[in-house]
C-alpha cells in the first residue's frame, strides 16, 4: 500500500498504540513503553465490522425482551425499553422520557449506523471526505458510554425497590443484552482507524 507522502506512515514511522510515541515501525515494539507498533490498527475494518454485527444481534433481545419486571402484590408487569419510555410519557415526565429515548433508542441506532457508514467508507475506492468521516467518528466516541444510563436505572431500581410481598423490581434479560450492545459498540469504535479513510484521499484535496 502506498501512503500519502505527507504522512508518518510514508516514512515508516508509526505512533505507539499505547503511549503515542512516534517510532520506526520496523522496531515492532515501542522504544519508550514496549507497546505494539503498526502503521495502521491491524485488521481494523474486519474487527470493527465483527463487533458491529455482534452489537446488532444483541440489539434484538435488548429491545424485544423486558428490561425489568415490576412485581406488585405478586403480580408481574414486565416492561421493555420502549415500554418504559411510553410509561414515562403517560406519567407526564417528558424530560426524563426524552433522556431515556435519546440515550437508549436514538444514540445506539445512530452510533451503529455511523460506524457502518465509516466501515463502508473504509472499503470504498473513493471515500467521503476525511474531515467529515473524522467528525462522525469523534461523535461516536463521545456518546459511546452514555447509553449505559438505562442499565444503571435498572440497577438502582432493583436495589432500592425491595419491599418484599408488596413491591419488588427484578432485572430483565434485556438489561444484560443492552449492556452488551454498549460494550461492543465502544469496542467497535476503538477498533476503527480513521487514518484508513485519509489514506484513500487524494493529497490535493486534503
Amino acid at each position: 500500500m502506498n501512503y500519502p507522502a505527507n504522512t508518518a506512515a510514508a516514512r515508516g514511522l508509526a505512533l505507539c498504540h499505547v503511549c503515542g510515541h512516534l517510532d520506526k515501525v520496523e522496531l515492532h515494539e515501542c522504544s519508550r513503553c514496549g507497546g505494539g507498533l503498526h502503521l495502521r490498527k491491524t485488521d481494523s475494518l474486519q474487527r470493527t465490522l465483527a463487533l458491529l454485527v455482534t452489537a446488532v444481534i444483541l440489539y434484538i433481545p435488548a429491545n424485544v425482551l423486558p428490561i425489568m419486571n415490576t412485581v406488585q402484590l405478586g403480580k408481574g408487569e414486565p416492561a421493555t425499553i420502549l415500554g418504559g419510555v411510553v410509561l414515562l410519557i403517560n406519567l407526564g415526565s417528558y424530560p426524563i422520557a426524552a433522556v431515556i429515548f435519546i440515550a437508549s433508542v436514538m444514540v445506539p441506532v445512530a452510533k451503529l449506523m455511523a460506524l457502518f457508514y465509516l466501515v463502508w467508507n473504509g472499503y470504498r475506492k473513493v471515500p467521503a471526505s476525511g474531515i467529515q468521516c473524522t467528525k462522525i467518528y469523534r461523535l461516536t466516541e463521545l456518546v459511546g458510554k452514555w447509553s449505559m444510563v438505562d442499565v444503571f436505572v435498572v440497577a438502582i431500581l432493583v436495589a432500592l425497590i425491595h419491599l418484599t410481598g408488596l413491591l419488588v423490581i427484578l432485572p430483565g434479560p434485556a438489561a444484560v443484552a443492552f449492556a452488551g450492545v454498549v460494550v461492543s459498540t465502544i469496542l467497535a469504535a476503538h477498533a476503527f482507524d480513521t487514518r484508513l479513510i485519509w489514506d484513500r484521499m487524494k493529497e490535493d484535496n486534503d
Binding site: 501512503y3 505527507n6 504522512t7 508518518a8 506512515a9 510514508a10 516514512r11 514511522l13 508509526a14 505512533l15 499505547v18 503511549c19 503515542g20 510515541h21 512516534l22 517510532d23 519508550r32 513503553c33 507497546g35 414515562l88 406519567l91 415526565s93 426524563i96 433522556v99 431515556i100 476525511g130 474531515i131 473524522t134 467518528y137 458510554k145 452514555w146 449505559m148 444510563v149 438505562d150 442499565v151 444503571f152 436505572v153 440497577a155 438502582i156 431500581l157 432493583v158 436495589a159 432500592l160 425497590i161 425491595h162 419491599l163 408488596l166 413491591l167 427484578l170 432485572p171 438489561a175 444484560v176 449492556a179 460494550v183 476503538h190 480513521t194 487514518r195 485519509w198 489514506d199 486534503d206
Partner: protein, 206 residues
Amino acid sequence: MQDISSQTHTACEECDLLIAVPAVAEGERAECPRCGHTLTQRPRQGFERSLSFALAACVFFAISLAFPFLTLANGGIENVMTLPEASIAIWREQDPVLAVIVFLAIIALPIALIGTIIALVTPLVLNKQAAWLPGVGKLMFGLNDWAMVDVFVIGTIVSLVKIAKLATVILGLSFWAYILFAICLTASLSGLDRLQVWKAIDAATP
C-alpha cells in the same frame, strides 16, 4: 530528506499527518492543521491540579461507600440502599454478568482510575524518579474509557423521577458525595494530556 525523529515530530492520531511538534506553553493547545484533532494541550498547573482533584475524589468516594445512597420510605417501611448494593442486588437476582458490569463501571474501575492517577502524578509533581511510571501510565489511559461515573449520576437522577410517583425517596449523604466524586474525577482527568504525561513519564523514569 530532513531529519525526522520522535524528539522533533509527531503524527496526528486521527489522520497520520506528520507534524513538527510545536512548543506548547501552559494554557495552550496544539491541533492538527489538517483534521483539527487536539495533538496536545497544557492546562495551567495541570499535574498539580490533577493530583489535588484526585485526592479530593478519594475522600468523596470513601464517604459515598460508607453512608446510605438512597432511602425508600413507603407507609412506615424504610429500605436503605448503599452504593455497592446497586450491583449486589442484581447479583442476588441471578444476573451475575450484569452485576459484574455495573460493579466495574461504577465502583471498581473508578477506584482503580483514581489510584493510578495518584500513583502517576505524585512523583511527577514532586520531581521524583520512579521505575513503575510507564506501567501505571498505560493502566491509567486504558481505564479512562471504562469508568462511567458521570453516566451513573444521570442514571440515578432518572431513577429518582421514575420512583417519585411510587414512594418518597430520601437522598443520602453518599448520593451527594458521589456527585462531588464524579466532578472531581472529571476535573482531575482534564489536567492529563497524553503527550504531556508521557513526556513527563519519560523524563522521570530512571
